[in-house]
Symmetry: C2
């Protein structure tokens, strides 16, 4: 499934983790992004660029305990396979992580991501 052209940006520690994570680039307003920076950063924005994914992400991010079971958030108006597909996309973009505990699979927001993306947009 990793048809994503392996970008060695952060430490690839886990080996099974998401393809990329955030702390990569200066604020968008600091200087023009290079092609590589844009490639990396666009992946995250793109992941949030779909209404269903944005709702899923928001549902996880705002859920009590910092994590949510799929069953808690899958009421977004599309079929269950489609929910699964979008959650996978969010994982591949490095925005979410998942863990199976017993019957259910729990998703949580990759901690540093929100802050990192926020920093991209804050000229300050």
């Amino acid at each position: 499934m990793s048809n994503i052209k392996a970008l060695p940006l952060l430490e690839p520690e886990t080996g099974s983790g998401p393809e990329s994570v955030a702390p990569c680039c200066p604020p968008l307003t600091e200087r023009p992004f290079t092609a590589e920076e844009a490639e990396r950063t666009a992946r995250m924005f793109k992941a949030l660029g779909d209404p269903v994914r944005l709702r899923l992400f928001s549902a996880v991010a705002s859920h009590a305990g910092g994590e949510a079971c799929v069953c808690d958030i899958s009421d977004v108006g599309v079929s269950q396979p489609t929910v699964s597909h979008h959650l996978k996309k969010l994982k591949e973009a490095g925005l979410l992580t998942s863990e199976r505990r017993g019957t259910w699979v729990y998703y949580r927001v990759e901690p540093s991501v929100l802050a990192s993306m926020g920093r991209l947009l804050t000229s300050e």
Copy 2:
């Protein structure tokens, strides 16, 4: 061109302006987004979800004087019609505005946008 289903969110003052602007939604972490909130917000993220557009946006946002002529930023590795196409998308998403002055067309970042998007991502 306006195949976008007219969303009456901000004051449509100008009549010729972009389709939507930012100050719409609480932080992503506050509560699950509604379908409408997601629809609106995803449009902006989607606009920044392409590497070429991200470079163009960054180039404008970081340019001296707060604005840039197309000729200043069109060196992003794609043809000039494609640059124009992406700038149009950024305009339609409400992220950029454009103005022709004599021979050249200048683009600038819609002022409130960066702060608004930043606020979406800052749990604070």
